[in-house]
């Protein structure tokens, strides 16, 4: 595979020069008030009106003929007003990307979600809203969670309706083609303004499950593939743990109650968290058919942001993949300095480790750690909640810059891993499984994701074959411009 990889890297270098020539081979951020490091491109504020539809250039390889659909992504994209930087990466306004792929062509466009926070801050030319890392301006009114909703974390497609997701407020309904904002989504009149996590779980048949987190009280949404709310219930998880993600088998919901506690959710939210490792990592396992049928499992204290998915063995043993940290990282130490162009690599060693949590039918859970450093674990949507082999994640780290350097697919059954390393010049984001037509296993899939080419200073969409990641990309589409790093996406 070395030949392919070298071939790709050489081609990538050529692409880099060509792209840079078009943009002018100027020093990083020469037009800005102060010189920013080369990687700060990933945190640069997007144009006010987003990006008009623009064809991306097939810069490498050949597009799979069966790859047809749309990659939607979301991420914070307003990090600066004049000399004022956002207090935290998590507080930037959500920019929704739509990358339509058909007949080997890729077309990108993007629009900001039209929230109260964005409208008022754009009008003022300043950050005003309180948030995860922001105290906020006293003049900014807050009559409910959607007044501070940044709508910046992920996207979900339900029965043709595109939803921009945050975690502490409503989903925002969007037009899937124009990306115009319709407004906050109300699933039922009595659930108006109730939080809707940015990590809903979609069963292979299209049914959606999600959580509403309010301190130690957690709401459970069950939504039909057709978009109607089928059921809603409340459970108590005992303490106000930070819940960004969770997981689910075919039969059970699993809420991970990590010992990162915030009993006072006042802005800036990040200041209220306390690491209480004495509690361990507790997991509440809830019967999907009867929310009152619950049991607890316990693992050693860990912090996490993202799971892959879970399944159950025939004896009831639950297994799921998750990226675990020994203690809180990004929320506390990172996420603020980077947007100001400050990064020392001080927390270089505190990367998340791809792990598998095994919960036996009785007794404590165990954690199996791989040697893979990464984030944004993803699985094949055909096998969500079911037994499968593979998990893919953005992997590796650099001592030159924040962000991932490669893509890894790990096989839990064989224990083998397959990786491709882009190196320091490309910041690697989340990759999604897209089943190949006619395939039956999770190796029969494409992996599609975005990469920020720091040399060419352009954003790219890359496709890999999930069965042969180390061969390098199957194809790369390159934009004529760059957009800031995002968080999560969906394929529709």
């Amino acid at each position: 595979m070395d030949l392919s990889r070298r071939h790709f890297l050489e081609a990538g270098f050529t692409v880099g020069i060509a792209g840079a020539a078009g943009a002018g081979l100027m020093p990083a951020c020469a037009n800005e008030a102060r010189e920013m490091p080369f990687w700060h491109l990933g945190y640069k504020t997007a144009p006010r009106n987003g990006f008009e539809p623009a064809a991306m250039r097939l810069a490498y390889g050949r597009a799979p003929v069966d790859l047809k659909g749309t990659l939607y992504r979301n991420g914070p994209a307003q990090m600066q007003y004049g000399d004022q930087f956002a207090s935290h990466w998590f507080d930037g306004d959500g920019l929704i990307h739509r990358i339509g792929i058909e007949d080997g062509q890729a077309v990108h466009k993007a629009r900001f979600v039209d929230t109260k926070k964005r409208r008022e801050e754009q009008a003022e030319g300043a950050f005003l809203a309180p948030g995860f890392g922001s105290l906020g301006d006293e003049r900014f009114s807050v009559e409910g969670p959607d007044d501070v909703n940044a709508a910046n974390t992920s996207v979900l497609m339900v029965n043709g309706e595109l939803l921009a997701l945050w975690e502490a407020g409503s989903a925002f309904s969007m037009d899937a083609d124009s990306l115009e904002t319709n407004g906050p989504k109300t699933w039922r009149d009595d659930l108006k303004a109730l939080p809707f996590l940015a990590h809903p779980k979609v069963e292979p048949d299209g049914r959606v499950w999600n959580l509403a987190v309010g301190g130690s009280r957690v709401g459970i949404y069950r939504i039909a593939a057709g978009g109607q709310l089928e059921d809603f219930g409340l459970v108590n998880i005992g303490r106000a743990a930070y819940i960004h993600d969770w997981t689910m088998t075919a039969r059970h919901l699993i809420i991970l109650v990590q010992p990162w506690i915030n009993e006072n959710l006042r802005p800036p939210v990040v200041a209220g968290f306390e690491w209480q490792p004495q509690h361990g990592l507790q997991m509440l396992i809830i019967d999907k058919d009867d929310f009152s049928n619950q049991r607890w499992a316990q693992a050693p204290a860990r912090m996490f942001f993202h799971t892959g998915s879970a399944w159950e063995e025939s004896d009831g043993t639950i297994k799921f993949d998750v990226v675990l940290y020994k203690e809180p990282v990004l929320g506390v130490n990172g996420g603020a300095a980077e947007i100001r162009g400050e990064w020392t690599g001080e927390h270089f060693a505190e990367n998340g480790i791809l792990s598998q949590v095994i919960i036996p039918p009785q007794g404590d859970a165990t954690i199996v750690e791989t040697d893979i450093v990464g984030e944004f674990p993803q699985v094949d949507p055909r096998f969500r909640g079911e037994h499968r082999n593979l998990v893919a994640l953005a992997s590796g780290s650099s001592d030159q810059r924040p962000g991932a350097t490669g893509l890894t697919v790990h096989n839990w059954t064989s224990g083998a891993s397959d990786s491709f390393v882009f190196g320091d010049d490309r910041m690697v984001e989340e990759f999604l499984f897209v089943p190949k037509s006619g395939g039956s296993t999770d190796a029969d899939a494409w992996l599609i994701g975005t990469v920020l080419n720091l040399k060419a200073r352009t954003s790219e969409v890359c496709v890999f074959d999930a069965a042969r990641v180390s061969d390098g990309p199957v194809c790369i589409w390159q934009a004529d411009y760059s957009w800031p790093l995002g968080f999560h996406g969906t394929w529709a």
């Binding site: 807050v142 009559e143 009595d190 303004a193 109730l194 509403a212 009280r217 709401g219």
Partner: protein
């Protein structure tokens, strides 16, 4: 002590007789109502009652369009504020979601907004003069 009590008694007498001596009218218009059903539950407050349970006056206004109106007579000239909510389903309560956030529209005079709570008195207060006043609140 006696002197203080006397002054307080005189002030109390003056305040209690003021409305009779200088009665004034206030018309409150509520516009921009999104659902033509239910009832606007409206309370009129002075500074002393604004953060408490009681109101100076109140009205329950049936909604059959996008606006309602009410006139309060015989008010003492001074500063007042309005708090209201739209009881859309006419159950007599301001409904909330499971985490306690209102699910029915609400508003304050001056279209004032709160910040992690109701609008503050200083933002919602307005003056009612001796010649009467009209005040319009726009729901959104």
């Amino acid at each position: 002590m006696t002197r203080t009590s006397s002054i307080a008694a005189i002030l109390a007498l003056a305040l209690s007789t003021a409305p009779v001596a200088m009665a004034s009218d206030l018309t409150v218009n509520v516009e921009g109502i999104s659902q033509a059903q239910g009832t606007i539950m409206l309370g009129l407050f002075d500074e002393a009652t604004y953060s408490g349970d009681g109101a100076v006056a109140g009205a329950n206004l049936k909604v059959d369009g996008d606006r309602v109106s009410v006139t309060f007579d015989n008010l003492a000239p001074g500063e007042y504020a309005v708090q209201l909510y739209h009881d859309v389903n006419d159950d007599g309560e301001m409904n909330t979601n499971p985490f306690g956030m209102p699910t029915e529209p609400f508003a304050f005079s001056n279209d004032a907004k709160g910040r992690f709570g109701p609008a503050k008195w200083d933002a919602a207060k307005f003056s009612v003069g001796a010649d009467g006043t009209s005040h319009t609140i726009t729901m959104n």
